[in-house]
Symmetry: C2
Subunit: 119 residues, 2 copies
Amino acid sequence: MTAADVRDEPDCDHEHGGGSKPRLSDPAVLERAAAIFRAVGDPARLQILERLAHGECCVSELAEESGDGMSTVSQRLKLLRAERLVIRRREGKHIFYGLADSHVSELVLSALAHADEHG
Amino acid sequence: MTAADVRDEPDCDHEHGGGSKPRLSDPAVLERAAAIFRAVGDPARLQILERLAHGECCVSELAEESGDGMSTVSQRLKLLRAERLVIRRREGKHIFYGLADSHVSELVLSALAHADEHG
DNA sequence: CGCACAGTTCATGAACCGTTGAAGGGAGCG
DNA sequence: CGCTCCCTTCAACGGTTCATGAACTGTGCG
């Protein structure tokens, strides 16, 4: 029995009988994973993450480097924090942001490297 | 000289002099990487990718499994294809979709596993 | 206390996105 | 050819997201 035999029955209306349904993820898990990707799926936020991969930084510095207002940057950080991609730490008047863990750093840097190669 | 000495100069308005700017990514690279994440950052599209990680599938089957219209599914696939996350192959009346490469499969499955653990 | 500085929150308008039904395209079959 | 089936494209609408300035919180300083 070859693989071609399977294609003898290409009718999608048929049941797949065998019960080899690989089982889909829970909708909540799907939503959670998607939310994380969505948070990273914005150039401005991705840039912040890249910047933070090189070390902690306060809001006003991020604002100055990106050329956007502090309010704008704060909103972006709020979203990244909601997805637990970044953490913050207070020091006097300043609040320093950093990546939550090394997984985030790897994800961001490898994605950028990949996007750089495959233009 | 300790790390505390560095914090003696927390004034963000100062130049960072030394030229140790880790260099930001090109805006086009940032946009490209973000576009990929954005494509995966939707539960419905992520579900499609998960499904395809288990093997090729035609549009009508994807539609039936998700309970959405074929038009809807086709639109989602169009977007995924635009980001080169999936490829398609014609076979008679059917068009089979599959993941573009193993990187996509790894990304999707590891993300879902991670989202499953860390509720 | 009063002021300045760092950051957040809130409200709003613009831009963007996802879904949907209708119409179109292409392959097979009689 | 004409019909059906599978799929794609188009246009429209409703919802979400993003940027922005104004108001607010909180910290330090004199």
